[in-house]
Symmetry: C2
Subunit: 182 residues, 2 copies
């Protein structure tokens, strides 16, 4: 549905191996919310069983965020992950097409699409992702994060930033820091 | 003041020419605030005369943010910029050493330190920046953003991410988008 009075929504991709991809998406959610936009963030890998600082604050200020993953792949069976992805993807399609949002963030969708330790193509097909991107409501901005972005997604994006790690304190033996990384 | 019961604060740097540096710092502010940390963001280039979506929301939720710049260099005289940097730097030193914050974000400080179109070394001396980093309260995390990070700052950082532009819609003639970039 083309609405000439409305600016076409953009596709933004944050990819690369460095820190800051999800964090930048959070910042974008805050900026857009400040401008009165209706923002939705769906997380494909993170699980609702863990606590995240951003979720605590988003709940408080009313930014809608759903953690649809079950944590990292090595802690669960492939079948558990497949089920979670299937559910996350059905949920995403419905939400995107509902017309209820101006900005939708699909956090770590790239990681999910790059899973190759078990088959995902029947529960999260790339061609459906591309169809959803193309067919989203006209003015909707979409932000897709995660390592190893598919070339087909990069091709369709308006903005792609690659976060490259120059230095990381993990290398010095400092573990993930509360309030900084989660 | 060394407090052995407290984890040493980290220095995080977001640099590079790509989009997402300030945005990632905003996300980090949100995450840290969600964890009950006291966050301060000081912006070195952005001016309080313009409106930013993030500022609107931060004011609402009580994250302290100060825009101490006067906008981009080509719109003002060198003397106006020098005065603004002088004031921003004095303000920063006082705030950092006050002990009132767990996380301090110095947004676009790298850009300010890389100005070479007029002399800045007497109002924003690199050696003082390095001294402040080293001498900050023990548990304080510091986030420094902006292009062209000085090597001396990278050397002292615990985490450095370089945001690289892969693709940008400016190149297709689309101007800055409300709610996405400001």
């Amino acid at each position: 549905m083309n609405q000439p009075d409305k600016q076409r929504g953009l596709i933004l991709v944050y990819t690369g191996d460095g820190k800051g991809k999800t964090t930048a998406a959070l910042g974008l959610a805050v900026r857009a919310t400040g401008r009165g936009k209706r923002v939705l963030m769906i997380q494909f890998i993170k699980s609702p069983d863990r606590t995240y600082g951003e979720k605590i604050l988003f709940d408080k200020i009313g930014i809608e965020m759903h953690q649809k993953g079950i944590g990292f792949t090595w802690l669960k069976t492939p079948e558990e992950h497949r089920e979670a992805l299937k559910s996350a993807w059905a949920f995403t399609k419905e939400k995107v097409m509902s017309g209820a949002y101006d900005v939708v963030i699909l956090d770590e969708l790239n990681n999910a699409l790059a899973i190759n330790s078990f088959p995902i193509d029947d529960v999260l097909p790339l061609h459906e992702v591309l169809e959803l991107i193309e067919g989203r409501p006209y003015g909707m901005h979409m932000v897709i994060t995660g390592r190893n972005a598919q070339q087909a997604i990069i091709d369709r994006a308006d903005l792609v930033t690659e976060m490259n790690p120059v230095k990381h304190y993990y290398d010095e033996g400092i573990p993930a820091v509360l309030g900084i990384e989660f």
